[in-house]
């Protein structure tokens, strides 16, 4: 369980090593359990910083979904800007900004690691 998150104790800078969690809708998941590139196509891809926001929070209220993480440095290596985007109710919110070609979306999907598989979130 990560430390309690607040505006004050979450740094603006996102370290290269930070894991970024993204909710995954069941329709993005292939029969073999891998995640489709279509889960990672948003120009402003919304993610939660795993070090400051427990994955159970990311999935709260989203029964049946899963959560997968990507690493900040990997996204940056794909010419994406990874930046904090604190929200009132989610100070650990961040964005992976940049145009995502199909190749980039596929690379992000392939790098994603399941943190909580589909339906694995606490109800």
């Amino acid at each position: 369980v990560t430390a309690p998150a607040s505006f004050d104790n979450i740094p603006e800078d996102i370290a290269d090593t930070e894991a970024l969690n993204r909710r995954i809708h069941p329709d993005f998941v292939r029969p073999d359990g891998s995640v489709s590139s279509q889960a990672f196509t948003d120009t402003e891809l919304s993610v939660d910083r795993a070090a400051y926001w427990d994955v159970s929070e990311t999935l709260r209220g989203y029964h049946g979904y899963g959560a997968a993480s990507i690493i900040a440095s990997f996204a940056r290596g794909l010419q994406q800007e990874v930046m904090a985007d604190k929200l009132l109710l989610n100070p650990a919110h961040a964005l992976v900004k940049g145009r995502k070609s199909k190749s980039i979306a596929r690379a992000l999907a392939r790098s994603a690691i399941w943190e909580v598989e589909l339906g694995g979130a606490p109800s």
């Binding site: 329709d27 489709s36 196509t41 199909k102 596929r106």
Partner: protein
């Protein structure tokens, strides 16, 4: 990179000096060759054989007559660059199918599924005037970079090419076309479809419906052929206004719906229904609901592609259909080292990512390229 295509037709006739071809023969051979290739391309695009020849198919059949060789009666043709095609020339693929289909008949006396009567008949007519004598032969050679193929058409092969298509009375057919004549006394009406006229025999109730709702309209009719030529359709089971998406033409229902019996189509069809039930913002990040038009276009494209590939003995594995956040859908295949993501952002548009081991290509695709990519991901054949 586009390939270089050359087609050579040799037709030597007694009494015609070397290096010359009679205009009537050259005209007939050239137009027959073009029509045959365009119709084969139309099929490769996933459209029915007997429907009107589409502009898209004609546009892809860009062949120029470049000369008559000195010393014999040889017509030389070359493929011209075709817009939106970066792989093999569509006419090359069609020409190799034409030649291999004829060779297959010469070897086995059976016509392959990929060379149907509508193409054979056209090619038969094209060579007829050049094959007046029993010893006359028309030779067709195809060259595409390092690939070569050839066949010889003699009068017996020409006769086989010209055998008209015969329809079985129990074979369901579908006609789409415009009503041009009504005959109340005989309870029938005539439809013009793809440059042919068909008579449709109906019952009294159906005639009243046509008279009151469909008179002079484009209609869809399903029934059975009364004769082997298929000029009259009776036992009508379906009769309604044609939709804008339905092409004029006369088709066998089993050919049109061939892909629908496949596992791939049925699974994707079920999934389309499921995806259409999603709500706005379904991915929790503001995704749009998959559009009906894009979803059904993808499904029908898949059905048509399955039908085309079955003509060549290739079965299509079930793709993973995934909704896109922008309201489209994407078909994914992973076969060995090859992967294809074929996205349909909206009806009629394709975007793709093709992965082969460590190499990747992506971009917008025409329907032709989408079909070729699908064949590539399944077989590894050059696009």
């Amino acid at each position: 990179m586009a390939t270089l295509l050359r087609i050579i037709i040799s037709s030597e006739k007694p009494g015609v000096p070397p290096g010359m071809v009679l205009l009537e023969d050259a005209g007939s051979l050239s137009s027959g060759l073009h029509d045959s290739l365009a119709r084969l391309i139309q099929r490769q695009l996933g459209f029915p054989w007997r429907a009107n020849l589409r502009q898209e198919a004609k546009r892809l059949a860009r062949i120029a007559l470049t000369g008559v060789a000195k010393g014999s009666g040889v017509l030389l043709y070359e493929g011209l660059p075709t817009p939106d095609v970066t792989g093999r020339h569509p006419s090359a693929i069609a020409a190799f199918d034409l030649v291999s289909g004829i060779r297959s008949y010469i070897d086995s006396h059976t016509w392959p599924a990929y060379l149907p009567p509508v193409v054979r008949n056209r090619m038969g007519s094209a060579v007829a005037s050049a094959l007046a004598e029993p010893d006359d032969v028309v030779k067709i050679e195809i060259e595409e970079d390092e690939l070569r193929a050839e066949c010889e058409i003699d009068p017996s092969v020409k006769d086989a090419l010209q055998v008209p298509e015969a329809f079985a009375p129990d074979e369901p057919v579908e006609v789409v076309g415009k009503i041009v004549e009504m005959d109340k006394r005989n309870l029938s009406f005539k439809i013009e479809a793809a440059s042919r006229t068909f008579t449709v025999e109906v019952n009294e109730w159906q005639f009243r419906k046509v008279d009151s709702e469909l008179r002079w309209e484009r209609v869809f009719v399903s029934g059975h052929p009364r004769d082997s030529k298929g000029k009259t359709v009776h036992n009508i089971s379906g009769l309604r206004a044609a939709t804008p998406d339905e092409e004029d033409g006369f088709n066998l229902t089993r050919e049109l719906r061939r892909g629908e019996g496949s596992e791939a189509y049925q699974q994707v069809s079920t999934r389309v229904e499921k995806l259409l039930a999603l709500n706005e913002g379904w991915d929790t990040y503001g995704a749009k609901v998959p559009g009906r038009r894009a979803s059904f276009f993808a499904l029908h494209f898949l059905r048509d592609a399955i039908g085309v590939l079955l003509d060549h003995g290739i079965s299509v594995p079930t793709p993973f259909l995934v909704p896109t956040a922008s309201g489209g859908v994407q078909l994914d295949w992973r076969i060995g080292p090859r992967e294809l993501e074929l996205e349909i952002p909206e009806k009629g548009r394709f975007e793709f990512l093709a992965v082969d081991g460590s190499s990747e290509v992506e971009g917008a695709a025409s329907r032709w390229t989408a079909m070729r990519l699908l064949r590539w991901v399944i077989t590894g054949e050059t696009v």
